[in-house]
């Protein structure tokens, strides 16, 4: 409210209307003028239908006034502000009236009312805090610039870049992510255009001279910059963008120069600048002829850099993460030192009874401010200065300090503090970056020393370990500790502290006293004395929450804590915590020094810098994440079965986080999938993670963090590696690399394939799997350009008809064949897999397989990346989805045979063209004859190529009906007859069985062998039916179950069937419902 008056009074309009606020197309800055809006009263007497139309007229009038005045004023002056339209907010020097006249004179525009569409720059000298905090809402993404920009531009007689003039309050000099990963970016030739490589100041002049062609070039990196913006900036590159005046181009080159030369730019500002350039009214119509191609090029670059700003974001992220270093260090440690454990089996590891607890001597050893001292040791000038480690040294930044040395700690600098605050406490604080190689080196040296002196080492972290020296009676622990410490200091030039105690707890507490660079021994008799004064908050495991709770009960020291009984503690704080408090306050700690435990899960999580624009960003990000996780799994030689995807989603009302690019206030979600076979295969991971991500149904722009965790780990045994790859290959889709290729067609195909047919045939299901990895939500115009080669699916390529392939090869400039050859070598492993064997058999006489094989390749024709062609058939296919099975493989040929001639032609005609050809040429009739002779063979064949047997109930009539009909067995034939008679309209087994009750079941005419087979067949089809129904329809199962029981009383056959099926039903019911069906 307050603000509204200010902004209006400054808007320079004599005819202010404060009566109403109808934000139809008018956005006012500072919001809400006229909260007491009464539209009906205020417009009762006016000729305007509503406020919107009023403002429209008013704006038009003001515009005309301005133009008329401008026409009078300008003329001699150079129109340097062409295309600039300013809005003045608040008090400025020079005043807004003066600014208005400047704009008039130099060809700019002046807006009295803020509108996102017409304003390009916001001019103001000062902003209230609330606007700074919520800059985006205030500026709507436009640049907020000081008035000096205009004055200086006039004096320079050319339009200066606004970036140096942006408001100080906003000019946060945080590094951009691009700066973070700068080396990579620099080496990117695409970016290193002549404009961008120069310094900002020179950049201006160069950009000015830049020809229009170069301006076109600069579109690309600029777009690339746009990618870096966070998710809020969603505007797509369109050809319209290129329709900009030269000034715009100039501006954007400036942006490039600024960005690349000067990484200190504030991201939002850039964003706004970009937006302003894209949104300029296309006054000059130099929509260059190459506009479109530029746009597509930009778009393709956009796609390539689709995640966030950096295609290698995930990789770089983990390269620069300290937590990641600590996390992965353990594996390194295990690998390095595991061998030494094997020889020396620890005798009493694990148990720690009370008697020998007294004899225990534990040394806890900890490097002093590890992350700092490792860096400082080589820099003598920093030796006694306050130093902290942080990934970015930026006085205004909000980066968190990860470790501080002791001089710095004396000032109160702590880990986890924002650099800004730390500098407030200690202005001379030196911030140093991580040096991960050095950390690794020192940690290795550290453990080398420890292992040399002691056999029982428990690594806690890269800089902290417990030694159990109880059985080294001949050595004084204190002497040992000082020897170790000295050795560490000599070798690593980092000081270590040691604590000695009877338990791990006491040793650890002792270290705290010993720090820095000292050692302390708490002997058994001194334990109580030591603990008496110890504050509860310093006990390990007592965090701030627990501490607060204790303090509420007036417990500050361990002595006070000891007065409370264990039961009371357990009652108040829970069983485990209570137990812990009780024993810790007495210095008891039952843990014993053990080797590094096997990790229970392996994963990777990124919660910083995660901003997505669309699904493709997510896809790419997930791919990278999966790669990382897969590498970690392989690094640990582990494979996992359960995959958990964790998502951090911005809380509804959470604004931009304080921490730059941080995750802010988030809701956490997680979902997991368990697969039957353990895997570390990146492609499986990708498929699973995409599926999991899809199941969240999130708005990708809200995602602030993603983590993938693999648990249920199993050691990757190289001996079963072969079978593993085969199985994982079988029930998964390795082909999901194919992300970009003609998404429209993909989405269509996903729908095309009926649900529940997932694992039907090797080929088809593979295809489907890889499609399903693609979320069907896709941006519309992706197929306007060729996907990058690395995204092509080799499987598909290899199966393309040669002429198509050569055509494709042409579009890729002949590189495709090379690629295929290369990949083929790699793929030899798949030669035992069904798909390849399918191809191999294709030409052989097995007709039913032939159909599968050929229809599969028929499917693949859809994938040809020529969008205009591929689209048409796929669209057609969608229409037929509901009616037609996916391919001929799902059509029962015997039915086809039974059909009247014209009907058959119709059915065949309903298939897309290429399929029809396949089917007619492949002579379904042949297959029919074959089927007549050996019906079971088909089943076998189907099973061989992965036909899950649930397909027996697929289709109308279901497959079993046909199979039974031609089985030659009278019982089975009877079944199918009954089905036709009664169950056609309602394909329920109960109907069939009910009818079967009234039939006469002859038994005994069949031979024993035949009976067995019949029983088996009937059981199979019953079981499948039950499997289908158990989830949703136990009523039907119950009905069938009872009918079957009654049938069993009449016929030997059904008796046997009942004997087999009954336990099966009960097991399944018990699995799903936790009980058994009651039998009357």
């Amino acid at each position: 409210m307050k603000r509204s008056i200010g902004s209006n009074s400054n808007s320079g309009s004599s005819k202010k209307s404060k009566k109403n606020n109808n934000p139809s197309n008018q956005k006012t800055l500072g919001a809400a003028w006229g909260a007491a809006s009464r539209p009906s009263s205020s417009f009762r007497s006016s000729p305007f239908s509503n406020f919107g139309s009023y403002m429209e007229v008013k704006n038009r009038k003001l515009q005309n006034q301005f133009e008329n005045e401008a026409a009078g004023v300008s003329g001699s002056e150079k129109l340097i502000f062409q295309g600039v339209s300013i809005f003045v907010d608040g008090l400025t020097v020079p005043s807004h009236q003066e600014l208005r006249s400047y704009m008039m004179r130099y060809g700019g525009r002046f807006e009295n009312y803020f509108s996102r569409r017409s304003v390009t720059h916001i001019i103001c000298s000062n902003l209230p805090d609330s606007k700074v905090k919520n800059l985006r809402a205030f500026s709507r993404g436009l640049p907020v610039v000081k008035p000096a920009w205009i004055v200086d531009s006039i004096s320079a007689n050319r339009l200066l870049g606004w970036v140096p003039y942006q408001l100080d309050q906003l000019n946060d000099t945080q590094p951009k992510l691009s700066a973070f990963f700068a080396p990579r970016r620099h080496s990117n030739p695409q970016v290193a255009s002549p404009v961008s490589s120069s310094q900002p100041e020179t950049g201006f002049s160069e950009a000015e001279e830049g020809s229009s062609v170069r301006a076109g070039e600069s579109e690309e990196p600029r777009d690339h910059v746009a990618d870096e913006m966070d998710g809020v900036y969603t505007e797509k590159t369109t050809p319209e963008m290129t329709a900009q005046t030269r000034i715009d181009n100039l501006q954007c080159s400036e942006v490039n120069a600024e960005i690349l030369g000067n990484y200190d730019n504030e991201e939002k500002e850039l964003n706004s600048e970009l937006q302003s350039t894209t949104n300029l009214p296309s006054a000059s119509d130099n929509k260059s002829s190459h506009g479109k191609s530029v746009a597509t090029a930009a778009e393709s670059s956009l796609r390539r850099h689709s995640t966030l700003e950096d295609p290698n974001f995930v990789e770089n992220y983990f390269k620069n993460s300290r937590l990641h270093f600590i996390g992965t260090w353990r594996n390194r440690y295990r690998k390095r030192f595991h061998g030494s454990f094997n020889g020396l089996k620890w005798t009493d590891s694990g148990q720690n009874t009370d008697e020998n607890a007294k004899k225990l001597t534990i040394i806890h050893i900890d490097l002093d401010s590890f992350f700092v001292s490792v860096v400082v040791r080589n820099r003598l000038e920093l030796q006694d200065k306050p130093v902290a480690v942080c990934h970015s040294d930026n006085p205004k930044g909000t980066a968190e300090i990860s470790s501080a040395n002791y001089p710095a700690r004396a000032y109160g600098v702590k880990a986890g503090m924002f650099v800004r605050h730390a500098k407030d406490l200690c202005p001379q604080l030196v911030i140093v970056p991580y040096n991960f190689e050095a950390y690794e080196e020192v940690a290795d040296q550290f453990y080398d020393i420890l292992h040399r002196h002691c056999r029982k080492v428990q690594a806690v972290s890269c800089d902290e370990a417990f030694l159990d020296v109880s059985d080294m009676r001949d050595v004084e622990p204190e002497l040992l500790a000082s020897t170790i410490r000295k050795e560490i200091l000599d070798t690593t030039r980092c000081s270590a502290s040691a604590g000695i105690g009877g338990t791990m707890l006491m040793a650890r507490l002792a270290t705290r006293v010993a720090k820095p660079a000292g050692q302390f021994h708490i002997s058994a008799e001194k334990v109580e004395e030591f603990l008496d004064q110890l504050a509860v908050g310093t006990l390990p495991g007592v965090g701030s929450v627990l501490k607060e709770k204790l303090e509420k009960q007036n417990i500050q020291t361990c002595r006070q804590l000891r007065l409370i009984s264990k039961d009371a503690l357990q009652k108040d704080f829970g069983v485990k915590t209570g137990e812990m408090l009780w024993s810790y306050s007495r210095g008891l700690d039952l843990r014993s020094v053990t080797a590094v435990q096997e990790s229970k899960s392996i994963g990777a999580e990124v919660n910083w810098g995660v901003r997505f624009r669309d699904q493709q960003d997510v896809q790419h990000f997930l791919q990278c994440l999966c790669k990382e996780v897969s590498l970690r799994l392989q690094g640990c030689e582990m494979m996992g079965r359960t995959f958990t995807l964790k998502i951090k989603k911005r809380k509804k009302d959470a604004g931009e986080p304080v921490k730059y690019m941080g995750c802010g206030d988030c809701d956490n979600f997680s979902r997991s999938i368990t697969v039957p076979a353990a895997t570390d295969d990146i492609e499986v991971l990708q498929r699973i993670s995409k599926k999991l991500f899809g199941s969240f149904c999130l708005d990708v722009k809200e995602v602030r963090g993603v983590g993938l965790q693999v648990s249920k780990l199993e050691g990757a045994d190289p001996s079963n590696k072969g079978s593993k790859t085969l199985t994982s290959w079988l029930n998964s889709a390795p082909a999901s690399v194919q992300t970009e290729k003609d998404d429209n067609v993909f989405a269509a195909e996903v729908r095309e394939i009926p649900e529940g047919k997932r694992r039907d045939t090797g080929g088809v299901s593979r295809l489907r799997e890889c499609n399903s990895a693609e979320p069907s939500v896709q941006s519309g115009d992706t197929n306007s350009s060729l996907p990058p080669m690395c995204h092509l699916d080799m499987e598909v390529l290899e199966n393309l008809p040669p002429e198509l392939l050569s055509e494709l090869d042409g579009t890729y400039g002949g590189k495709l064949y090379e690629l295929i050859e290369k990949k083929r070598g790699k793929r030899k492993i798949n030669s035992s897999s069904p798909h390849v064997s399918l191809d191999g058999i294709k030409g052989s006489s097995s007709a039913s397989i032939k159909i599968h094989g050929s229809s599969t390749s028929g499917e693949k024709k859809h994938d040809k990346p020529h969008p205009s062609i591929a689209r048409a058939p796929s669209e057609r296919a969608i229409k037929m989805t509901d009616l037609m099975p996916l391919s001929l493989s799902q059509v029962d040929v015997s039915v086809l045979q039974e059909l009247p001639e014209e009907l058959r032609a119709d059915v065949l005609g309903a298939f897309p063209t290429h399929r029809r050809q396949q089917s007619s040429s492949n002579a379904p009739m042949e297959t029919c004859k074959k089927q007549d002779k050996e019906p079971t063979d088909i089943n076998d064949a189907e099973n061989d190529i992965g036909f899950s047997s649930s397909s027996l109930w697929f289709g109308n009539p279901p497959l079993w009906v046909e199979n039974f009909q031609i089985s030659g067995n009278c019982t089975l034939e009877k079944f199918s007859k009954i089905y036709y008679k009664v169950a056609q309209p309602r394909p329920m087994l109960s109907t069939v069985l009910q009818r079967a009750m009234s039939e006469v079941w002859s038994s005994g005419d069949a031979s024993a062998n035949d009976l067995e087979k019949t029983v088996h067949d009937v059981c199979e089809f019953l079981k499948e039916y039950i499997k289908i129904k158990v989830e949703g329809d136990i009523e039907e199962i119950y009905l069938c179950f009872r009918l079957l029981k009654r049938l069993a009383a009449r016929s030997q056959l059904f008796h046997q069937v009942y004997e087999i099926v009954s336990p099966f039903i009960q097991a399944l019911i018990s699995e799903h419902y936790g009980g058994s069906l009651s039998m009357p």
């Binding site: 989830e1031 949703g1032 329809d1033 009523e1035 019911i1069 936790g1074 009980g1075 058994s1076 069906l1077 009651s1078």
Partner: protein, 209 residues
């Protein structure tokens, strides 16, 4: 039983379902003969004759049990709703289980009349299921219990606070199930079945914590 306005399709289904549950629970209680039949009055719901409790407290209990589930059903948290009858010593003797799954993705396409038509078959079947139920022991009581897929966040909704965790005694052995009616059509999968203690069930005990 006035219709609430569901703002989203799955809410619509949930609303219908909750309404149906209210009727069905009443029917179950009536079927069991828990109260004298004079305690109920004949009503028409979905064009089927159903019973409604006359006593306001009973009616309110059933109504609020059902409508209290609405937020959880909407979120897809509710897995089963059970009407449990207890014997004198608080041991369940019979449980009517409504097992439900709502598929929100296809909820939009469903037609209400279609859903009602299917739900009606439940009520018809239920009114004819007297033979399935066992006679009640003397001095028994009953309650409505909902089994959630996961515990809702504490204080997530006011309605949630009305529900309390239950320490209902469990049977030692898996129960015997008698299906009554199943409905499996998108977006709703609803099954009603009875659970009775296993015949060899001897001494039920408290569920292990």
């Amino acid at each position: 039983m006035n219709m609430k306005k569901g703002d989203n399709p799955s809410g619509k289904v949930a609303n219908t379902l909750v309404e149906f549950l209210e009727v069905a629970i009443t029917m179950v209680v009536f079927l069991k003969g828990f109260y004298p039949s004079a305690a109920f009055e004949r009503m028409r719901y979905m064009n089927v004759v159903v019973q409604r409790a006359r006593h306001p407290e009973l009616r309110d209990y059933i109504h609020f049990s059902a409508s209290g589930l609405l937020p959880f059903i909407e979120k897809g948290l509710v897995e089963r709703v059970a009407v449990i009858f207890f014997s004198n010593d608080n041991v369940p003797v019979e449980r009517f289980i409504f097992k439900l799954t709502i598929n929100p993705s296809s909820a939009a396409s469903v037609e209400e009349s279609q859903l009602e038509f299917r739900l009606r078959s439940f009520l018809v079947k239920l009114s004819a299921s007297k033979s399935l139920v066992k006679p009640l022991p003397p001095n028994c009581r009953w309650e409505v219990t909902a089994y959630l897929r996961s515990l809702p966040e504490v204080g997530s909704s006011k309605e949630g606070e009305l529900w309390i965790p239950t320490d209902t005694k469990q049977w030692m052995k898996p129960p015997v199930i008698t299906p009554v009616k199943s409905l499996n059509s998108e977006p709703l999968c609803l099954q009603l079945y009875l659970e009775h203690p296993c015949l060899s069930e001897t001494q039920p005990c408290q569920e292990a914590q």
